[in-house]
């Protein structure tokens, strides 16, 4: 049950247009940082773009900004049922709160890894 909930959540979030927009922005940023000389995140004229230092800097910067994006996605778990009005139907089923929320959370963890993969330079 737990796994099935997380799979549903993953599929639900992958269909979310915000996911595609956010991941393309971050993908383009990291791509640009690695290929366009004038965009520098972490690397500089004296540091290789693929040096460990530059990669660590890029990851750090993107992680920081991506925290906000992640919050926006994960908050959706809690508010979605009341926002859409589907909540009463869910709450009348036998599912327990912990199973449901953590199942969804697991879906988001997997989803987050998906997003992370597009971010890596």
């Amino acid at each position: 049950m737990f796994l099935s909930i997380s799979v549903f959540e993953l599929r639900y979030q992958v269909r979310n247009p915000v996911f595609w927009i956010a991941s393309s922005i971050f993908f383009l940023l990291s791509f640009a940082a690695a290929t366009v000389d004038r965009i520098q995140i972490g690397s500089s004229a004296n540091v290789h773009v693929n040096s460990p230092y530059a990669l660590a800097q890029i990851n750090l910067n993107f992680l920081f900004f991506f925290m906000f994006v992640t919050t926006a996605f994960v908050a959706n778990v809690v508010v979605r049922d009341d926002e859409t009005g589907y909540g009463p139907i869910i709450r009348a089923t036998r599912i327990r709160k912990a199973e449901y929320l953590y199942g969804r959370f697991l879906g988001h963890v997997r989803h987050h890894r998906l997003r992370g993969q597009r971010r890596r330079p």
Partner: protein, 291 residues
């Protein structure tokens, strides 16, 4: 069998939505009839374990619903009054997900049950469309499909036909009629015909109290010979209402037809009317309204 004893619910803002409701609901279709704001939805929500009543007992077979809501939820199908759906999710995916939440864990069982319900509710051809794009009637049919998942023994449908066009309403009532006779189905509605069409047992609720209950046929029979009708002009109506017990007035081709409750022939051109459930409903409301 569902038994409700002396159920009272007061909301945080002081509104007393339910005031000592006692009901016993046998298996089969049970109609709960009442005007808007009578407490139907509050009662339905209490039985569906969504809110804990202030006081009173609800038991379903051997389950004490207030104490062990989780046990009831295993046997419950609930269609709320108005519900939204998740965006970008198809009926097929949502039903499959609901089946998981309702504990149908075997994948092949789940698939066959979901497919059977999609066919039964006539949503098969639209199963891959997003629910958010469904019309009101289709959404309501999806609602009953999810309520029927997992072989529930208690099905609660809260005002399912409000806002449906006549054809969709018919289709929906037919769906309800197909539900087996061995489960308890509570249908709350403010539309008298829904009850007339479907329910062998019913209750009328107003201002949080049950004001009448029984079988529709016998309730109608009790009124037999006591309902009289007359077409009156609008100007006579006020005077008639002062003198007689007018239970309802309705317009027919632009003229007012008054239904009057009277034990013997009132004369004055009144004609005897074969009572209908609507007369039962209006007379119950009329006799119990605080004046």
């Amino acid at each position: 069998m569902l038994t409700i004893q002396d159920l009272t619910h007061t909301y945080a803002n002081g509104v007393r939505a339910l005031d000592g409701v006692s009901l016993s609901v046998p298996t089969g279709m049970f109609g709960l009839l009442g005007p808007n704001g009578a407490g139907k939805s509050s009662l339905m929500r209490c039985v569906a374990t969504l809110q804990t009543p202030t006081s009173g007992r609800i038991t379903f077979d051997d389950i004490d619903v207030v104490v062990e809501p989780e046990r009831l939820r295993r046997h419950l199908g609930y269609l709320p009054q108005d519900f939204g759906v998740y965006p970008r999710v198809s009926a097929l995916d949502m039903l499959d997900h609901m089946a998981i939440l309702k504990g149908v864990s075997d994948p092949s069982d789940r698939r066959s049950e979901v497919e059977r319900l999609l066919v039964q509710t006539n949503l098969w051809s639209a199963r891959k469309k997003a629910l958010a794009g469904y019309s009101g009637g289709m959404r309501q049919r999806f609602g009953i499909a999810q309520a029927l998942l997992g072989a529930p023994r208690l099905i609660i449908v809260d005002e399912p036909t409000a806002g449906l066009d006549p054809e969709e309403r018919n289709r929906f009532l037919n769906l309800l009629a197909e539900i087996g006779e061995n489960v308890v189905v509570i249908l709350s509605t403010h539309i008298v015909e829904d009850v007339t069409d479907l329910c062998p047992a019913m209750a009328i609720i107003a201002s949080g109290r049950i004001i009448q209950q029984g079988a529709p046929m016998s309730l109608v029979r009790e009124l037999d010979g006591r309902v009289w009708v007359k077409t009156v002009a609008k100007s006579e109506l006020a005077e008639l209402q002062a003198r007689r017990q007018v239970i309802s007035t309705r317009l027919f081709a632009g003229r007012t037809v008054a239904h009057v409750l009277c034990d013997e022939d009132p004369g004055e051109g009144f004609e005897r009317h074969l009572g209908t459930l609507e007369d039962v409903y209006f007379s119950a409301l009329r006799l119990n309204s605080p004046r």
